[in-house]
Amino acid sequence: MEDILEKIALCVENGKINAKSPYPPTMRGQDGADELTEQALAQGISPTDVLTKGLIVGMEKIGVRFRDNQVFVPQVLMSAKAMSTGMAHLNKYFNDGSVQRKGKFIIGTVEGDLHDIGKNLVKMMVEGNGYEIIDLGVDSNADKFIAAIEANPGACVGMSALLTTTMANMKVINKAIKEKHPEVKTFVGGAPVSEAFANEIGADFYTDGPQQLVEKLDSLIA
């Protein structure tokens, strides 16, 4: 059992999506996260073990390597793709409640801003580390965030902005969230955003990259 879970983790870490995928060249022709996840479930390994001892382990490893500048954005994207291919086999277990995620994370690019590369990277990393994602997409206003919070009690919130003109909207959204739901933990991030800005607008956390955000989320639920 341990062997196949280790292989799943290795596939996710190295972005080996399926047997057809030519990447990475060192794993060419071998099964990927897709086939191995299916095989593990067919062998009777519990979906929870497949998730926590296989898929998530791989994402944790690539997250650390990304944080340490050992790999770059494309490698993380391919790991996330391998992860989501494996996760597709677990959907029915999530739906019937037999597998639990660590928590929920609401994420969106703030009002006026249509950029989503950074937001999507964070989304993939958080999802790959075992959280359910509620993705509000781009151009999301305070009402949209608050509606998502009310539909998903206990969720943390992440706001993204690329532009200096739109990051000002983080202040408006954060204020609206805190007025209605002061218990909700809010995160801000994006190219022009800084720790000082997060403090200024009253957001709970600023993180400089997706792995930092995952580590902070893990510490909040620990």
Binding site: G15, S21, P22, Y23, P24, N69, F72, V73, P74, L77, M78, K81, G112, L114, H115, I117, N120, L121, L163, T164, T165, T166, A191, P192, S194, F197
Partner: protein, 332 residues
């Protein structure tokens, strides 16, 4: 241009060339939308800025949607902010195969050529730099940036096919920009900065090199701008043979400068958001002096912003940037 570059390198006094047009748009009381859709307004904004500040060269708006729009990408316009590509127009490899390279009559290309032509006619005492996007960044705007970042690994042939088409268009556009009489082009290739050095070389720099070889000569320079590079692909970046390299604020500039050939310019890299837009005159001046000091050992350095300065950057901060330059030069 070769002579200008040599003169800059030989002169002990530093010069500055921020990538900056938004303050010019504000000076003439127009909106970003007006400037990016009307070559005459765009030109007036550059002229206003040229009169107000002693930049060593004039630059046009860094608008990375013009080329994608020419290919047919949907663009979202905003009165007060630079335009954005909406979604991805290419869904799969078949779309790449059937994609046609547009001519220069599509979208706003002619308005940009007009802005460059009018400015080159009026500003004759210093270089005027046009702007264009780099092939990898353009491909990302057409195919979806996340998908394009993975394509070199998952289907390198399709990636090359798309990059060939992007390169063909950018080459034609650069040739037309050259014909307007401008002194060169700043090619923005930020997405390639997200790649490792080998991938950046094979899927960005090798394509840019083709354009440089075709359009650059003693009278027309290519300046390659990559604000995404954090030091992971500098070797590939500086391999293209450009007359100058413009770096973003994510990189340690003295470290990057060591890799740039001594006869090419190194430009950068003050934080456009944190300093120009959100800093104070004090933080702006202090950071500028610090950078000038750090770059003392590099005669080929031109002081600049790390990217296009955002709309609503306070004039007091821009003043402080130039004050710092004057102070530095006065103490040489």
């Amino acid at each position: 241009m070769r002579t200008w570059v040599e003169k800059v390198i030989a002169d002990k006094k530093r010069v500055a060339m921020p990538v900056m047009t938004h303050p010019g748009i504000e000076l003439i009381g127009k909106s970003v939308l007006q400037a990016i859709t009307d070559g005459e307004v765009h030109h007036q904004a550059i002229m206003a800025l040229n009169e107000k500040y002693p930049s060593a060269a004039s630059t046009v708006i860094m608008d990375l949607t013009v080329e994608a729009e020419a290919f047919g990408a949907k663009i979202i316009f905003n009165d007060d902010e630079i335009a954005t590509v909406n979604g991805s127009m290419l869904k799969d490899e078949l779309d790449i195969e059937t994609l046609e390279v547009p001519d220069l009559n599509e979208g706003r290309v002619q308005e940009y050529l007009k802005a460059n032509r009018l400015t080159a006619e009026k500003i004759t005492d210093k270089p005027v730099f046009a702007g264009c996007i780099g092939p990898f960044s353009l491909a990302g705007r057409l195919y979806d940036m996340s998908e394009m970042l993975m394509l070199p690994y998952l289907n390198p042939d399709a990636a090359i096919q798309l990059l060939d088409k992007c390169t063909e268009f950018i080459y034609t556009y650069c040739q037309a920009l050259k014909d307007t009489g401008v002194s060169g082009v700043i090619m923005a290739e930020p997405a390639a900065g997200l790649l490792d050095d080998d991938t950046c070389q094979a899927f960005s720099s090798d394509f840019i090199k083709r354009i440089v070889n075709a359009v650059q000569d003693d009278y027309f320079a290519v300046i390659l701008h990559d604000c995404g590079n954090k030091g992971n692909c500098t070797k590939a970046t500086v391999s293209v043979g450009a007359m100058g390299y413009h770096f973003g604020n994510a990189i340690d500039l003295p470290t990057a400068a060591k890799e740039v050939p001594a006869d090419a310019l190194v430009m950068g890299n003050l934080d456009p958001s944190g300093l120009f837009r959100m800093g104070t005159p004090e933080t702006m001046k202090s950071a500028t002096l610090t950078l000038l000091d750090k770059m003392k050992a590099f005669p080929n350095f031109i002081l600049s912003s790390g990217c296009d300065t955002p709309p609503h950057s306070p004039f007091a901060n821009i003043d402080a940037f130039y004050e710092a330059l004057d102070e530095y030069n006065a103490n040489l």
